[in-house]
C-alpha cells in the first residue's frame, strides 16, 4: 500500500510528530479538573436532588403510597363509603337503599326542585316496605303535595303470599287536570321555587282509583 517514496516522508513525519509530542507535558492536575467537571455536570443535571438521595427515596415511597390510596378510594365507591361512615352498609351491593339517602330525597322529603314532578311514573323513595297484619306488604312513602300516591302492583305468586320485590316503588300521580309541573332539578342544588313545607307522609294504604302507574322495573 505504502510506496517506498512515501516511507521516507512517512519516517520523517513520524519522527517529527513524536518529537513534537514529546515536548508536550500535560499539567498534573488533569484528573482533579476532570473530577470537578464531572461533579459540576452532575449537579447541573440533578440539582439539589443529587445531594439528598438519602431522604428522597423514603419521601418518594410515602408519596407513592398516598397516591395509591387516593386512587383506590376514588375508584372503589364501597371502600369510600366504608372510610366515610366507618362500616359497610348492609345493602352496599346494590345501592338500592342508599341511593335514596344520598341523592337528597331521603326520608320522603320532596325534591328541592319543586313540589311536583312532571313524570307520573317518577318514583319517590319508599321509606319502608313491611308486611302488614293482613299479609300484605305496605309501602310507606310520600308524594309531593297535590299528587296522589299509587301503590305498586304486587306480584302474586301462586303458592305464596303477595311478594313485593325489593325494587318496589311508590309512584306519584298528578291529579287530573292538575297544575303545571316543573322538572326537578338534578342534584338538589336549585333552591325550591315554592316555599311549601314538605308534605306529611301519606296514609299507609294509599288508594288509587285510576290505573296505577308502576315503575318500569316492576313486572306485572
Amino acid at each position: 500500500m505504502t510506496q517506498p517514496f512515501d516511507d521516507e516522508y512517512g519516517d520523517r513525519l513520524r519522527r517529527a510528530l513524536h518529537a513534537e509530542a514529546e515536548a508536550v507535558t500535560p499539567s498534573a492536575e488533569g484528573l482533579e479538573r476532570i473530577r470537578a467537571k464531572i461533579n459540576q455536570r452532575h449537579e447541573r443535571r440533578f440539582g439539589v436532588f443529587s445531594l439528598s438521595a438519602s431522604w428522597l427515596r423514603p419521601l418518594a415511597a410515602v408519596a407513592a403510597a398516598a397516591v395509591v390510596c387516593v386512587v383506590a378510594l376514588s375508584v372503589t365507591p364501597g371502600l369510600a363509603n366504608f372510610v366515610q361512615t366507618g362500616h359497610f352498609s348492609p345493602d352496599s351491593g346494590g345501592h338500592k337503599g342508599n341511593s335514596a339517602a344520598t341523592d337528597g330525597h331521603s326520608q320522603g322529603q320532596p325534591p328541592p326542585g319543586g313540589p311536583s314532578t312532571p313524570n307520573p311514573s317518577s318514583s319517590p323513595s319508599p321509606t319502608s316496605i313491611h308486611p302488614s297484619d293482613s299479609g300484605k306488604h305496605v309501602v310507606t312513602g310520600t308524594c309531593p303535595p297535590g299528587e296522589t300516591t299509587v301503590t305498586p302492583t304486587a306480584t302474586p305468586t301462586p303458592d305464596g303470599p303477595v311478594h313485593v320485590g325489593p325494587s318496589a316503588r311508590v309512584t306519584c300521580q298528578a291529579p287530573p287536570g292538575g297544575g303545571t309541573t316543573t322538572p326537578p332539578s338534578s342534584g338538589g342544588t336549585t333552591p325550591p321555587t315554592e316555599s311549601s313545607p314538605p308534605a306529611a307522609p301519606s296514609s299507609d294504604q294509599p288508594t288509587s282509583d285510576s290505573a296505577p302507574t308502576t315503575a318500569p322495573n316492576q313486572s306485572p
Partner: protein
C-alpha cells in the same frame, strides 16, 4: 482486560494509562497544549457519562480517541471563524532552538502538517503518531477505510510537495 469498573474507577484508570498520549494527540491536532488538555478533559467527562454504555476499557479508549478527534475538529472550526474576523498579528518569531537542523526539519514538517486540510492532518497524525490501523483510523474519524486511504495519500503528497520546495 475484563475489569468490572464503575465510571469513577474507569476515569482514574484510563487517565493514568492514556491521558498523556491523548493530550499529545490533541496537541498535534489543535496545535495548542492548553486547548488540547481541555479537549481531552471534556472527552473524559463525556466518557464518564457514557460509561454505562461502554463498560469495557477497549471501547472506552476508542470512545476517548474518537471524542478527542471530534472535539479537536470543533475547536479548529471555532478557531477558523475567530481568526477570520480577528485582526492579523505579526508572525511568530523563530525561537533559539530552531537553530539545530533536526529542529528545523521538525518544525518544517509540523508547519507543513498544519497547513494541510483537517481530515488529511487527522489521518496522518493518527497513523504516524497514534500508530493506528486503517480500520481504527476509520472508526475514530467516522469515515470509511477507503476515505482513510484517500486522505492519507493526499496528505502525504501535499506534505512531500511542501517539504521538497524547502
Amino acid at each position: 482486560m475484563a475489569v468490572a469498573w464503575d465510571a469513577d474507577q474507569a476515569v482514574t484508570a484510563l487517565y493514568s494509562a492514556h491521558y498523556r498520549s491523548l493530550v499529545r494527540l490533541a496537541t498535534l491536532l489543535v496545535r495548542d497544549v492548553a486547548t488540547a488538555e481541555e479537549v481531552v478533559q471534556d472527552a473524559f467527562v463525556a466518557m464518564h457519562g457514557a460509561w454505562r454504555r461502554l463498560r469495557e476499557p477497549d471501547k472506552a479508549l476508542s470512545y476517548l480517541r474518537q471524542s478527542v478527534v471530534n472535539r479537536s475538529r470543533s475547536v479548529l472550526r471555532h478557531r477558523a471563524v475567530v481568526e477570520k474576523y480577528a485582526p492579523k498579528g505579526l508572525p511568530d518569531a523563530p525561537s533559539a532552538e530552531n537553530g539545530a537542523i533536526v529542529e528545523l526539519e521538525r518544525s518544517a514538517v509540523v508547519k507543513a502538517l498544519g497547513a494541510l486540510p483537517n481530515r488529511q492532518r487527522e489521518a496522518l497524525v493518527l497513523r504516524y503518531y497514534g500508530d493506528l490501523s486503517e480500520a481504527e483510523i476509520a472508526k475514530t474519524m467516522g469515515i470509511s477505510r477507503g476515505a482513510v486511504k484517500s486522505h492519507t495519500a493526499r496528505g502525504m503528497a501535499a506534505l512531500r510537495s511542501v517539504l521538497e520546495q524547502q
